[in-house]
Symmetry: C2
Subunit: 235 residues, 2 copies
């Protein structure tokens, strides 16, 4: 089933912007009467039938508005420093979107390998993964902020900082409480500085381990994301 993203989706006749129209009519060669699915990225899925196969402003009739299976009663936010190789961050974004995430925050820290990010490209990857995995809600990707600013932002939920240290004895999977909002900070490739860890602690972040395995930054971020989802999913 093909899924298209239209932020302005609503019941009735809607028209697609030029790029999406071209994709529907020219690339996928859809004809009037063909059916597909539309997500508004804001929690709703629709059934859609193409009513005008116009290559620049295709129109469809949207019916059966419903909540997606990805509507959750908790919020999952992961903060990560973009990796030296962009493809590793992009891989995290794709996988986290598939597994389920609400918010990705990017930060620059003392040992960061990368201090600027192509957020528009990151958002495109999230949109593609959202469509591919038939999600109704689009994860938010926020632009890079300094670590000092990130840890001072308000967050209503459990706050954790995951990094590698022998002194960190507690695990995310043991401390996270099912159903609660949660934000996890993931150490950059050069890890957090001691001052950054202290700053996070001072701002209410609890140090956690993700287990004994030594994980790359992007793997740690996916593991943190799946840990929270799994705990919510278990009976």
């Amino acid at each position: 089933m093909n899924v298209f993203y239209l932020p302005t989706a609503q019941l009735g006749i809607i028209s697609f912007p030029e790029e999406e129209s071209k994709h529907i009519v020219k690339v996928l060669r859809m004809k009037e009467g063909d059916c597909f699915c539309v997500t508004d990225g804001n929690g709703s899925l629709f059934d859609a039938e193409l009513v005008d196969a116009h290559p620049k402003r295709a129109a469809a009739n949207l019916t059966n508005q419903r909540n997606g299976y990805d509507i959750r009663d908790f919020k999952l936010s992961i903060a990560i420093a973009p990796t030296k190789l962009n493809e590793r961050t992009e891989w995290f974004l794709e996988k986290a979107t598939e597994i389920g995430i609400d918010e990705v925050k990017l930060f620059a820290s003392y040992h960061s390998e990368r201090r600027v990010a192509n957020v528009e490209r990151f958002k495109k990857i999230v949109v593609a993964a959202m469509k591919q995995s038939v999600k109704s809600k689009m994860p938010v990707v926020e632009d890079i902020v300094p670590f000092e600013k990130l840890v001072k932002q308000d967050f209503d939920g459990q706050k954790f900082i995951a990094w590698i240290d022998d002194d960190v004895k507690e695990q995310l999977c043991d401390l996270y409480k099912k159903g609660e909002n949660v934000m996890v900070l993931i150490g950059p490739e050069g890890d957090f500085s001691k001052e950054e860890v202290q700053l996070a602690k001072d701002n209410g972040f609890v140090p956690v381990s993700l287990g004994e395995a030594r994980l790359r930054t992007e793997t740690a971020a996916v593991v943190a994301c799946h840990t929270v989802q799994l705990i919510n999913q278990m009976k």
Copy 2:
């Protein structure tokens, strides 16, 4: 800390094959007296000191033989059909090695997109990930076998088949018992045929879901791997 893989590693003076010697001496420019770590891929890690910086047969003195942190009392085996895009299977191999896996079995099934695999390349990816994540045991990667043959192989532990179907109500995370050996079959990009699911059931595989999220094949495989690890890791 640099980690090198030497299947014949043992306490005392050892020498590296030409390719690894070149990497140590020419690429990393290590000098006599420099220290690193050696894994034998069979459960042991060693401290190593370079004693001869020969570019074709570098020698090191190995001390402090110890078990790696990745020694487990259960066996985790994942069976997957290689994806159309090789990089997706390779990504699974890298991430599963980081997270922890004992065995990857490859199979060709009715809807498989790819019926041959470059297993030597896959093994190189596993070796690189093992070194990068300082593992002492190298996951085994087996060459492709037909699905019919795979499901008839002996396996001493819990056996599951994960695929997408409304009738599959039980989840891997609820059925897998901590500490037990486990093998999980992951559906290919075209999913299993009904006959294949029946054949797996006839051979003792229990149908499970990985949750409501629609996951790509390689994401499902990583999620299954992490599910088993997390259940064993939780207090």
